[in-house]
């Protein structure tokens, strides 16, 4: 069902694939192949454009919503960040627009990955919690909560510890490859209505204190690491690929 992106498809299959791609129904490796095809295969790209043009009629039926007064200023702030980081790293501008999708897509590639991540996460949390608690007991530095951050391959990449005195720190468990001009940004999410907040920016995987300051901190709070421009995310929200993520659990 997923022939090489470089072979031409018969028109009905090409158009069905283009339609599925535009609807957002293609996932995982097939999505990567479709994006590749969109870049290379002009007939496929033309079919994608035709579907987008036709389906725009459906978007036109959505009831318009007046944007809040501050939305434009939020956009301007995001754009200002882009201008600053673009000046620093013009090479980053060469990404193609269709690749925007792929930067976020890896995360929902596969249910199996996520089931695997859930099981592996539970197991890793348990093993790490046992190991960490033993060691930390002896060190008299007992974290109140621990989050194990897993990669999408279910590898524990880092842990986040929170302490009773309000300190929060992240300890890497794996070396993380950070390309030139990029940095690792650490985020926390406690309320989806508020959205993720940046709590740290580091140039390489190393133990680092996280700045939660007055942000809330509780159980099941999400921490994640994304790859961002060296100056941090231009939008104030995670934009790059997620390196690892996990939620806090209370120490027993």
């Amino acid at each position: 069902m997923s022939p090489s992106a470089d072979t031409a498809l018969p028109p009905p299959e090409r158009d069905a694939l283009a339609g599925e791609y535009v609807l957002g129904l293609i996932e995982g490796t097939e999505l990567a192949a479709a994006e590749h095809r969109h870049e290379r295969d002009r007939d496929f790209a033309a079919s994608v454009e035709a579907w987008r043009g036709h389906l725009a009629a459906i978007d036109a039926t959505a009831t318009p919503v007046t944007p809040p007064a501050d939305l434009w200023s939020r956009i301007e702030a995001g754009v200002a960040g882009v201008v600053a980081s673009a000046a620093a790293a013009p090479a980053a501008m060469s990404r193609a627009a269709p690749a925007v999708r792929s930067r976020f897509s890896d995360w929902w590639d596969s249910l199996f990955v996520w089931r695997g991540a859930a099981f592996a996460g539970a197991l890793a949390s348990l093993l790490l919690a046992i190991g960490l608690f033993g060691a930390l007991d002896r060190a008299k530095r007992q974290p109140v909560m621990v989050a194990v951050l897993l990669t999408d391959a279910s590898v524990a990449a880092a842990v986040v510890h929170t302490f009773a005195d309000g300190r929060v720190e992240m300890l890497p468990l794996q070396s993380i490859n950070v390309p030139e001009g990029k940095a690792l940004e650490i985020w926390t999410l406690w309320d989806r209505a508020v959205g993720p907040r940046s709590v740290g920016l580091i140039d390489s995987a190393r133990t680092t204190p996280l700045r939660l300051d007055n942000l809330p901190l509780g159980k099941d709070q999400l921490f994640e690491i994304t790859l961002e421009p060296a100056t941090g995310s231009p939008t104030g929200r995670p934009t790059g690929p997620i390196i690892a993520k996990g939620t806090t659990s209370q120490r027993l």
């Binding site: 987008r52 043009g53 009629a57 459906i58 919503v65 939305l71 995001g78 754009v79 929200r237």
Partner: protein, 187 residues
């Protein structure tokens, strides 16, 4: 655009504004915002249900439009489809990321499943003159609704299968065949 026919190629206002964005003219981004943001917010709201998420999607979309304006090629498609493709991709990734990180909350898909999102309601709002409507009408209602659920609510194959209590393979093949029929009809 509103007719659903492929928009004419050429340099309309949006295309010119995108080229100006590529050369660093921020007022061009503002022109796109003034012209399109209410509808973009409406589209994002229909996919994401929650206002805060819809605003986030539109905000991110404009930053991405600005960042990638230089990659817009008027030879390959219209400015509006390019902009709405960015908005849709960003909305879908927020939608699916939210569903993944959801713990005990009501899943977004079930929250405020308003009549406005209902496939037949959307059908009735499509312009009579649109080629898409005429062609959707040639499909059996149930198959048509699968395509509309995927587009309007951003559901995946698996979510549609769960919602309609149908086997995943059937959902996939019905959508596939519906798309092939639609394409034949749309030409």
């Amino acid at each position: 655009m509103a007719t659903g026919a492929a928009p004419p190629r050429g340099m309309g206002e949006i295309e010119q504004a995108l080229l100006a964005c590529a050369s660093g003219d921020k007022s061009a981004l503002r022109r796109i915002y003034d012209a399109e943001s209410p509808r973009m917010l409406g589209v994002a709201q229909r996919l994401l249900k929650r206002r805060a998420l819809a605003e986030e999607a539109v905000q991110d979309a404009f930053v991405l439009i600005w960042r990638h304006a230089a990659r817009f090629d008027p030879e390959r498609g219209s400015g509006l489809t390019w902009i709405y493709a960015i908005l849709r991709n960003r909305s879908l990734s927020i939608l699916r990321d939210e569903r993944r990180t959801e713990t005990s909350d009501t899943p977004i898909a079930e929250e405020m499943a308003s009549e406005e999102d209902d496939p037949e309601t959307v059908m009735s709002k499509l312009s009579d003159a649109s080629a898409l409507r005429a062609c959707l009408e040639t499909l059996p209602p149930q198959r048509r609704s699968l395509v509309l659920l995927a587009f309007v609510q951003g559901l995946t194959h698996g979510e549609i299968a769960g919602r309609l209590k149908m086997p995943m393979g059937t959902v996939k093949s019905w959508i596939r065949r519906s798309l092939i029929s639609l394409k034949e009809c749309l030409g």
